[in-house]
């Protein structure tokens, strides 16, 4: 447990990816398999179910520290992380403990079967034998969410160095629905598996946004161009007569989409299709709002199935007849994909149509109009590209249409989390309805650190009222808010829900009274929400 604490401290202490990988490799080299498995699980977000409610952690730590609960809450708003807050307020100790990570995790798993009083006694005595860092890590093990600037990519790199195996292989072995309590480090990462995990998806290949001129990409004919759809990226896996649907979030979602589950009877075994899960009806895509009614719902009602049916729009073929096609060229994969989709003749499996412009200029014109077909822009894929792992530059680009935008006034601000802790960085924006300001969107990204600090100062000096972590501020600052989609909503006071709202820039040139109105927003809604 100490080593793991020190690893977390080391990862936290540096911003250099090389140093992070080195720290992870040295942890792996010196730990036993049980601890290594937990390392992989915890850092890739596979945490066992929360063994203790966070409300109890709050209560107990306040009690041990001799401070009232409200003061712990206020501290939490400043620190931006509960595990860290609890670690910091607890009284110092000089005790230490030699318990291993695996032992600690087993203890935590067992807590679920204990009475509350026993759990409390365990947690309090555990705190008493840890320093601040260990406490922080321990609390994180309970509350979850190790965000310490270590991406899956870096974990893969460290494992690959430790095991002297290729990164792609490691990445693939880490995919899927494995649980640390049901496997071992050897089984998961070392022993070759032929048939052990039928449902295992391939790591997704992701595109970077295109930042240069499309003309610089060479001959337009070398590129396969498709619409970029705003659904859920997914993988359809058919092996040994069984079908699995994965979302990009590495979640198995087969049961949620009966429309896709039935494709089992239409597709040839064994094949893997990469595509977009989209709400789609009467030959046309529906807005993301429809798909939203399907996410997070395990059982879907008849009514919802009727109102928001889904299809998969197929982008790519990753496996056919059990053979991994990722090293085959895009062009060849596409041919095979077309054949598979055509033969399937299923109404819930469509192909992502190729757009074949004669020039980049024509492509640009099509991109400009992509919102009319409810698409977010274009995808550009080099015809000779292989299917890579993760986000890579060069062969695939997303070329999104510019966001819609509106000028709005900031009316509330809240302290952020993580890097933005103790800084007013999350804002609520409003537009005018007569002489009233109606909130319509929250956004926290899009400002530089410097701009954020200046807004933070403004908030501190122009607070009207405080509501816990939130402050209402003088309506004075104007921002241009960009968004990808707009839909009517009964849940918001404004009657409008935005998709991916974010700050495009601060409008120092505009006074608050020059911000847009709710009428302006509704105008956009009428144009794009047919």
């Amino acid at each position: 447990m100490k080593d793991f604490g020190e690893l977390i401290l080391a990862l936290d202490a540096t911003t250099k990816t090389n140093d992070k990988v080195t720290a992870m490799v040295s942890f792996l080299d010196s730990s036993d398999d049980a601890d290594k498995l937990w390392f992989v699980a915890l850092l890739s977000g596979k945490r066992p179910k929360r063994p203790v409610k966070t409300s109890l952690l709050r209560e107990w730590s306040a009690e041990v520290s001799g401070i009232p609960l409200w003061l712990l809450e206020e501290s939490y708003h400043v620190v931006g992380d509960l595990a860290e807050t609890v670690a910091l307020i607890l009284p110092d100790t000089s005790e230490t403990s030699e318990i291993t990570l695996d032992e600690r995790m087993q203890d935590l798993l067992n807590l679920r079967s204990l009475e509350e009083e026993e759990v409390k006694a365990y947690i309090i005595s555990a705190w008493a034998e840890m320093n601040k860092t260990e406490r922080f890590v321990f609390n994180k093990l309970i509350t979850g969410g190790f965000r310490i600037g270590v991406s899956q990519k870096l974990i893969v790199r460290a494992l690959s160095r430790h095991l002297e195996e290729e990164e792609n292989l490691i990445a693939h072995r880490l995919m899927g629905d494995w649980k640390p309590s049901e496997t071992t480090f050897q089984k998961l990462l070392v022993e070759p598996d032929d048939n052990e995990n039928l449902s295992r998806p391939y790591p997704f290949y992701l595109a970077y946004p295109l930042e240069e001129e499309a003309e610089n990409l060479g001959d337009v004919k070398d590129w396969q161009i498709e619409y970029k759809w705003d659904g859920i990226r997914g993988q359809l896996i058919l092996r040994n007569g069984e079908i699995f649907v994965w979302s990009r979030g590495e979640e198995l979602v087969t049961e949620r989409f009966p429309e896709l589950e039935k494709l089992k009877d239409f597709l040839p075994s064994d094949c893997v299709i990469d595509g977009e899960i989209m709400a789609f009806k009467d030959g046309a895509p529906l807005t993301f709002n429809h798909l939203q009614t399907r996410i997070g719902r395990k059982k879907v009602s008849k009514k919802i199935l009727e109102e928001s049916p889904v299809v998969m729009i197929a982008y790519d073929l990753l496996e056919k007849d059990g053979k991994d096609l990722r090293e085959t060229s895009m062009e060849n994969r596409r041919e095979m994909l077309e054949e598979v989709v055509k033969k399937a003749k299923a109404d819930t499996l469509l192909i992502s149509e190729k757009i074949e412009p004669q020039s980049w200029k024509e492509a640009a014109e099509i991109r400009e109009k992509s919102r009319e077909v409810l698409s977010e822009g274009l995808m550009l894929k080099r015809k000779d590209s292989t299917y890579k792992v993760g986000r890579k530059r060069g062969d695939w680009w997303k070329w999104k249409v510019d966001p819609m935008s509106i000028d709005a006034v900031m009316i509330y601000a809240m302290r952020g989390h993580g890097r933005r802790a103790n800084l007013y960085s999350d804002y609520t924006f409003a537009v005018w309805k007569g002489d009233e300001l109606v909130p319509f969107a929250k956004a926290y990204s899009g400002l530089t650190d410097k701009e954020m600090q200046s807004v933070d100062q403004f908030v501190k000096k122009n607070t009207i009222e405080r509501f816990g972590p939130v402050r209402s501020v003088k309506p004075e600052l104007v921002f241009e808010i960009g968004f990808e989609g707009i839909a009517p909503s009964t849940r918001h006071k404004s009657g409008i829900a935005l998709r991916f709202p974010r700050i495009l820039r601060r409008r120092l040139d505009k006074k608050p009274e020059e911000a847009n109105t709710l009428e302006d927003l509704k105008g956009i809604l009428d144009v794009y929400n047919t």
Binding site: D12, T14, E74, G80, L88, G418, N422, S454, Q457
Partner: protein
């Protein structure tokens, strides 16, 4: 009328017609210490501890200033003004104001532990206490400074072994000298940014002395940086001046470094939790030791600390001022002074 009132220009004693640490120009200002948010430009007359004055002159130019010793007093219009050590930085003082037996103390910025450089904090009994609250949350609890300096020494040694420069960022007045005074200078040479060198000169004029250091100029050969410790103000971070020091590791010394979020936001290699402000426990000790009937809480977590004091049965209320506490130390203040090279 209260002996001291909180006005738009600052803390005002109308009976004695003077202000304490005002933020707008006034005729007579009593200054707790020479940091920019407490000691501002434009006052007709300044009164402060005599060891603050060379630094104030260095920062504000030719000012009309009178310096007094701790415990010495001045009487204006029957109001007695005296200064007591605040332990914050060299020359820092709490201001004690007395009229007809009623006593107010304005702490300015302070810390309770002895940093080996500033005259150590002395608790002063009073009826009304005006206290800062920069770190007035129970998450801020400093570890012993010896441990922090051990960490710094080790960090420097490790960087030196890799032939890297160690750039340590700390406020140019107070923090920088504290580091200079306590770091193990047998490890290697210590180089200074101009802003810190200049503060040192001003402090030397006030009677302080420091270990041997070297000022970095444009003629300093690059090889000199490797393995050395370079102390620079936070504003140097990311500047062209700093690029010349490559390859280096960079650390920041500030109380804010106790929070991961602040550490990550600064994007430095290493954060050292070293503050010249009172932590949670020290603030509470100071309030208790003052035996004040009424506590006014300024810059920091004013509302929260006041509410906590109320919970403890202390009559306290938050007061709005324009002081910034330690924010300027991590480059987050609005009133950051230009730190000339």
């Amino acid at each position: 009328m209260a002996l001291i009132e909180f006005t738009e220009k600052g803390l005002h004693c109308s009976r004695g017609d003077f202000y304490i640490d005002p933020w707008r120009p006034v005729d007579r200002a009593v200054i707790t210490h020479a940091h920019a948010d407490h000691s501002r430009w434009g006052m007709k007359n300044y009164l402060s501890h005599h060891r603050s004055i060379p630094v104030m002159r260095h920062r504000l130019g030719e000012i009309r200033a009178e310096g007094i010793e701790y415990g010495e007093d001045r009487i204006i219009n029957g109001v007695k003004i005296s200064l007591f050590p605040a332990g914050h930085i060299p020359g820092s003082a709490q201001v004690r104001v007395e009229y007809k037996g009623e006593v107010w103390v304005v702490t300015g910025d302070y810390k309770l532990i002895d940093d080996g450089l500033s005259a150590p904090f002395e608790p002063v009994k009073c009826h009304h206490l005006v206290t800062e609250s920069t770190f007035g949350l129970p998450v801020y609890k400093w570890k012993p400074q010896e441990e922090v300096f051990d960490e710094m020494n080790l960090w420097w040694k490790q960087n030196r072994e890799q032939d890297l420069a160690s750039v340590l960022l700390g406020y140019s007045l107070g923090k920088a000298q504290r580091i200079l005074n306590s770091i193990d200078h047998t490890i290697g040479p210590i180089l200074l940014h101009g802003a810190i060198h200049n503060s040192n000169l001003a402090l030397e004029a006030a009677g302080f002395s420091f270990p041997e250091t070297e000022l970095i100029t444009k003629d300093t050969p690059k090889e000199k940086y490797r393995g050395s410790l370079i102390i620079a103000p936070p504003s140097a971070f990311g500047s062209p001046w700093m690029k010349k020091l490559k390859p280096y590791k960079v650390g920041t010394a500030s109380g804010w470094m106790s929070l991961r979020g602040a550490r990550r936001r600064r994007n430095v290699d290493r954060g050292f939790v070293l503050s010249d402000h009172a932590d949670w426990n020290e603030l509470n000790q100071a309030v208790e030791a003052s035996e004040a009937e009424k506590v006014y809480v300024t810059h920091g977590y004013t509302n929260i600390f006041s509410k906590w004091l109320n919970d403890q049965g202390v009559d306290a209320e938050p007061v709005t001022t324009e002081y910034e506490g330690e924010l300027s130390e991590i480059g987050e203040g609005t009133n950051q002074e230009k730190e000339a090279e």
